[in-house]
Structure formats: C-alpha cells, structure tokens
C-alpha cells in the first residue's frame, strides 16, 4: 500500500523528466542551439543579441539537468520567471510559465478542469450504465436479433471517430431539430445545474456512445464467461430467482475487470477529452492542450502532459485499491 504510493510518486517524477527531456533535450540533440529555443520567446524583430540575452535569462544556456532541476524544484516549492520586464511569481506546485500568454500554466489548467470534469463524469455515468446494461442483455439473449443489433451498433460506436459522430449529432439535434444546446455552450454547475446538464447533454451522449460500445462488448464477453461458471449453477441450485442469479452472482463477477478499465478510462479522460472538447468547442483541458500545441507553447504542453499523467497515475492507484475491495482474493496478499 505505502509502497504503491511511493512508486506512484516516483513514476510521476520519471514522467516529468521524460516529458521535459522530450521538449528541451531532444531539440538540442537535433542540433538546435539555446538561441534557437529562445527565439520563440522574443519578438519577431529581435536581433541576435536580444535572442541570446533571452536564452541566458530563461536559462537555456545552462546544462539540461540544471534546467530540469529548476523545473522540478518549481513543482515542489514554486519558482520565479523573469520575463525581461518584470519577475513573475509562479507558486508551488509550478508546472511552468507560459511566455506567450504571460501567466503560469497550472491556474489556467485548474480553471478549465471543471469543464473536463463535468464532461467526463457525465459521460462516464452514461456509458457505464448504458454499456453494462446492453452487454448483460446481449449476453443473456445471445444470438438473438436484439444481441446482433446491439453488437452491430457497438461495433459502429467503437469504429466511428468522435469528430464524425459529434458533428453529425450537432447538425441533427442541435442545428436541425434544436433539441440540444449549440456547440460551445457551457454553464458552470454551481450557477445552474439544469442548464449545465442541458448544455453538456450532447457531448455526454456522443462521448459515452464511444465508450459504451466498448463496455457493452466487454460486459457481454465477461457475462458469457461468468454465466458458465460453476457458482452460477450453485446459485440456481439454491433456488435463487434468475434475476438475482444474473445480477448478484453473474454481473458481480463480470464487473471486476470492467471496473479496472473504467478507472483507467476515467483517468485518461480527465487529462482532456481532446476530440470531444474540440468538436463541441468546450474550453476544457483537452482544448487547452490542442491550443498549446498549435501555438508551440512548450511550457503549456509540458504542464498539460504532466497533469494528464498525474490523473492516470492516481487512477491506477485508486483502481489498485478498489480491486482489493471488489475481489476478496486480492486482499490477503
């Protein structure tokens, strides 16, 4: 337990080092000079002198481990960034400072987190219930037209990209029928929960469709397997109602691996649902990442990557702990 926690922290540092290396070490290995890196942070008209001054000021001339040390130190105790005009404070945990928008990365990310969180949580509820229910029914009615239809739709759901289904759904339900909110609508939950749900309904459905399809297939496969187990026969032999046999004995066992994947999917999604947020113009973390990449704003990209990695590591940790709760056989060891 404690070992797991420590290894999670170590893993995060490894991730931060690797990401840092990708953005700051690789360009140097590829032949870029500190001046080349610094040229992004000065005006287009800047001369060689000014660029070099900026490179020194930003620390690009220091050895790479000194640069990483500074970055890592910033995460723990915070740091200061000299913009050349003023010295900006970046309090701990500092994930970097964007010289393009002139502000620290983390507060920006936290501002956008509620959007991504709302999107992920709502969709997760939908896909978990929808996918699992579909999978169970499909498994019980295996080979029936219902099963075939559901699995056909699931195959489509897994295969179709979200920017296709999303745009299609927007054009039909939002711009065509006017049932749902238009792209880009978002109301914070604390302002108006009903409006919040209404605005997010279509993104939720679109995103959950993708996942529900995968979960339906997973659940179906799991149920087909567990319903053949000996303990299902025992449950029937006890005289349990079929509903209890299916839910309490079959689904309970089939749900364990699904829970694992659910945790990881949710963690991944919290790092930004890039395609969904872009399709529906939601200002979440995913959109932030896309904008950062488009503007070549390396500190932002680095920060977003680290935040995403943190969510995934935490999700892994939670899933590990949950697994012990769900499967008593894991508890002893």
């Amino acid at each position: 337990m404690i070992r797991r926690f420590i290894s999670a922290v170590v893993l995060l540092f490894v991730v931060s080092a690797v990401t840092f290396a990708i953005f700051f070490l690789l360009p140097r290995l590829a032949g870029a000079t500190p001046d080349d890196l610094a040229s992004r942070y000065v005006g287009k008209t800047a001369g060689q002198e000014q660029i070099h001054a900026a490179a020194v000021r930003l620390g690009f001339t220091d050895p790479i481990w000194v640069q990483y040390g500074r970055f890592a130190k910033g995460i723990v105790v915070g740091s200061e960034y000299d913009t050349g005009v003023t010295v900006e404070e970046c309090p701990a945990p500092c994930l970097g400072y964007s010289f393009i928008t002139q502000n620290p990365v983390l507060p920006d990310l936290l501002d956008r987190l509620p959007v991504t969180l709302s999107l992920a949580a709502g969709a997760a509820v939908l896909w978990l219930f929808g996918g699992v229910a579909t999978g169970v029914v499909s498994a019980l009615k295996r080979g029936s037209p219902l099963d075939r239809t559901a699995m056909g739709i699931a195959l489509a759901g897994v295969s179709l990209p979200i920017f296709f289904t999303g745009l299609l759904a927007l054009s039909i339900f939002s711009y065509g029928l006017g049932w749902t909110a238009q792209g880009g609508s978002y109301t914070p939950f604390q302002e108006n929960p009903a409006q919040w749900a209404y605005d997010l309904l279509l993104p939720w459905i679109t995103l959950s469709f993708l996942y529900a399809a995968a979960y339906a297939r997973l659940t179906r496969a799991g149920m087909l397997e567990t319903m053949n187990e000996d303990y299902i026969r025992t449950a029937r032999a006890k005289g349990l109602k079929e509903h209890d046999v299916v839910v309490r004995h079959g689904l309970r066992a089939a749900l364990t691996p699904i829970l694992t994947i659910f945790g990881l999917d949710l963690g991944l999604l919290l790092g930004g649902a890039i395609l969904t947020e872009s399709t529906f113009s939601l200002n979440g973390i995913g959109k932030y990442a896309v904008d950062a990449v488009a503007n070549n704003d390396l500190p932002k990209v680095l920060g977003v990557t680290l935040l995403g990695a943190t969510f995934i590591v935490i999700a892994n940790l939670v899933v590990d702990l949950l697994y012990a709760v769900v499967d008593p056989r894991v508890r002893v060891s």
Binding site: T234, A235, K238, G239, L240, A253
Partner: protein, 385 residues
Amino acid sequence: MSQPSTTPGTPTDEAPTAPAQKRSRRRREAPPSTGLDGIGGLGAPAPNSFLSVRDLRVHFPTDDGVVKSVDGISFDLARGKTLGIVGESGSGKSVTSMSIMGLHKPGTVRMTGSIRLGGEELIGAGSETVRELRGKRMAMIFQDPLSAMHPFYTIGRQIVEAYRVHNDVSTSVAKKHAVEMLDRVGIPQASSRVDDYPHQFSGGMRQRAMIAMALSCDPDLLIADEPTTALDVTVQAQILDLIRDLQTEFNSAVIIITHDLGVVAELSDDIMVMYAGRAVEYAAAADVFERPEHPYTWGLLSSMPRLDRVRTERLRPIPGAPPSLINVPSGCPFHPRCAYADRTGGLSQSERPPLEEKGPGHYAACHLTASERNNIWENDIRPAL
C-alpha cells in the same frame, strides 16, 4: 418384489450371513415387476417412494445431431435411502441429476418421461415451480467446492442467501442459522469462520460448507454429484461419513453420483450403473457387489483396486472408450467393448437388451443367458478380483 423369491444363483438365497441380512432389511422395496414396460421401465412407483423417475429421456439437439445423454432410465428412491449412480464420464449420470434439479438451460434440452418428487411431477412443471423446489425440497452439492462457491461472497453470506430464498427471516436470524449449520457439519469456530471467503477454507472445509449450504433449508432430497472427487483421500471418508450422519438426522433421500464404486459401496442402499445414457444394472448395493449381472459392472469391479483382498492379478481396465452419444452403437451399446458379446449369437450387435429382472429386485440389461453369466462370473471374473 417385496418377497425375495428363490431364483438360484442370486446372493440373497445363498446362506444369508448376518451382514447380508442387515443389508437386505435396509434395502428399498423393489417395485412390482408386473409393471415392467420394456427398456428402462419400472412400472408404477413403489408405495413409499419419495422420488420416482420413469423412462427419463434427456436429449440435446445440436448441429451434429441429437445427443442422447439420458435415454430412458427409471428408478425409485425412498426417504432415508441412498441411491448410487455409477458410470464413466459421459454416461449421463450428471445429466440425470441436473434434470431432476431442473438446471438444464431451457431451450437447449428435450426432456420426456416423468420425475415425481413427493408426488409432484417435475417434467413440464413451470420453471418458477421448480425453482421454488430447488434448494428447499431438493438440494445439490457439487464436485469442486472451490469453483462451485462464489469467490466474492463470504461463506456465511452464501448460506444466508440460500436460507433466505425460501424462509422469510431477517439476515441476522439467517446468519445464526448459517453458524449453526457450519457447526453441524463440523467446521471449528463456526461463528468466526462464517465470515471467511471460500478461498480461505481448505478443500474439505469448503465441501463441508457446501453441504451446510445445501442442507440449510432441510431438503428432502440431496443430490451429491461426485462430492469427494476433488478431495484428498483422507478427507473423502470424512465427507462421506458426514453425508451419512446428516442423512440419518434429516431423514432425506440421497443420490450419490460417482465413478468410484468404493464411494457407493460405503453409502448406498441401491446402485444404478449407467452406460451411454441407460441403466445397465440396477439393484441393491449388496447384490451389485456380491453378484453383478452385467459385463460392464464386471469391468468396473475388475478395474477397481481393493484393499480388503490379496490381489493375484493386475487391475483389468475396460478396453476402449465410452461411445458417442449421438451415434450410439447398435444393439447393446456396450457390445464394442464387451469381451462376451460374441457369445450371444449376434444378438448383442443387432438388438438392444431390455432392462430385465435377472434376480429378485435385481435388474440388468444383457443378452447373455443366466447360466452363461453365472459361468463367466464364477470362473472368469470373481477369482481375479
């Protein structure tokens, strides 16, 4: 056949020894032979019979043809009595028990004949009717208690569940009952072990817990499907003792399904030997061991190691393998593996032998004549056992 007649060659009229007399008193009342209706048929149920199976056929239609897992078997079982069903894998013994419990998946199986439990017909009864009987009036214990118990629920919770399906009591009352049951089947510190998970129990303990679960609603019929196969030899005897003790206590009818004649020898009043979905021999246990009438039973006895006698020869396995249940051999299904099939003048190859009364209450399906069987048994089989 309540009055043992005096057919020569049957063990009952050979100088009755004390244990033999004791056994015959325990013996089930044989059904009247007047009602014999050919293959596998036994006529009207015996008056004290609690479970009466008549001409049960269980067929599974598949893409390759109809699998005739059970093809016409009949037997009677009274309360407090034990029937042992013996046979190789695929002989239809487990399918028989699953049919009684109504555990076959609906739509995959064609069941005909009659299964009467306490006078109530089970074949054709609604699934809800049979479900309510399951666990309450008839219960089952399975071969491998580890896979037969749900790994995610405590032993106690699984017993509580079984009890509460049929009894309208609170969880705490049911839990107390579960502890009592665990204590009754010999689980030490039952009140604390009730909260353990199946994987925390040893194999023998798990089977005890399984028995506690099966008996929690005090069923009239207990079916034990290979109850000791997955257990250590030392534990096997304990479990069999436990089943016998509990049977006496609860006065339930018990069916033991096994491939191990040693198991039924200890427990059974009657034995039914099954082959390719049919009964080839059906008689009181003592008779089957003292004077078996069917070559297949001879084969089972010859291939069984015995500790109570000095062996003079190696064990003799039955040659060949059980037949396909889709294309059952013509005539006697055992004839391709039978060493004596050529002594019936081609009858074994062409005609299916009916299950006939060869001695009092002793049924067998074989074309060999009485003298021939007697001859083979006395000269060929018995000396080599």
